[in-house]
Amino acid sequence: MFDVPVLRTANSTQSDAGLETSLEVAPDVPWITLVWNDPVNLMSYVSYVFRSYFGFPKEEAERLMLQVHENGRAVVATGPREEMERHTEAMHEFGLWATVAKASDG
């Protein structure tokens, strides 16, 4: 009868330890949000989205927009994975083509 709670305690201790390990590793592997060129979105709109959503100054927004236009993509944010997914979701709401990747894949 006493085995069950004992096992549970042991299990949760183990998984907590595993969680700590993964949390320690996570900051070494940053993630990025990429915005890709598409034939539909106007340059003025892409720049507008970068300013209004990310709060970039006009020059930075224009620079990233031109990078999207000329290089086909630009990294618009770097950080934890969940945050990069939130940005990507927001970009999709704006109608931009955005993806998430590991920073090393950018």
């Binding site: 034939p39 106007l42 003025s44 997914e85 979701e89 999709h92 109608g95 998430v100």
Partner: protein
């Protein structure tokens, strides 16, 4: 169509029938955005895969975000549709800003129908092509007025 500023309002004055055409497009859009995932080829543009090389992660992202995105896009479009009851629409800057993502999404759907896939694809000289360009002009005009603030 004339887009101008009057005090703190952005004023859209539509020419004969334009607001009706736009409203019809917006109402069709609400149907397209709400159909089953993948049922419309334009969905791939409105809801692009969030991971290019990881199908499982892309699917999980879709599972967590798709319903909310559909709801917000449809609710926003419904607001715009209501405003299009009139030939002249007066919008606050915030309301005008909410038109911009919808105008992009309308163009994404029309681009899908017209086969516009890369920058060099020409906009066809057809009624749908005209509407596509007209929507871009409307979007650009609103952005210019918002930038004037």
């Amino acid at each position: 169509m004339r887009v101008s500023r009057s005090g703190d309002r952005i004023v859209l004055e539509f020419a004969d029938g334009e607001s009706g055409v736009l409203r019809s497009l917006v109402d069709q859009y609400i149907e397209v955005v709400g159909t089953d995932a993948g049922a419309d080829p334009a969905h791939a543009r409105m809801f692009p895969a969030a991971y290019r090389d990881d199908d499982a992660a892309a699917e999980e992202f879709t599972r967590y975000t798709r319903a909310g995105l559909v709801d917000r896009k449809a609710a926003n479009a419904a607001q715009v549709s209501l405003a299009l009851d009139e030939e002249t629409v007066r919008l606050t800057a915030d309301a005008a800003a909410r038109w911009l993502p919808l105008l992009t999404d309308l163009r994404l759907v029309i681009a899908d129908r017209l086969g516009i896939r890369i920058d060099d694809d020409e906009i066809p000289d057809t009624p749908a092509g005209e509407v596509y360009s007209w929507l871009g002009h409307l979007q650009e005009s609103i952005i210019m007025l918002l930038d004037d603030e």
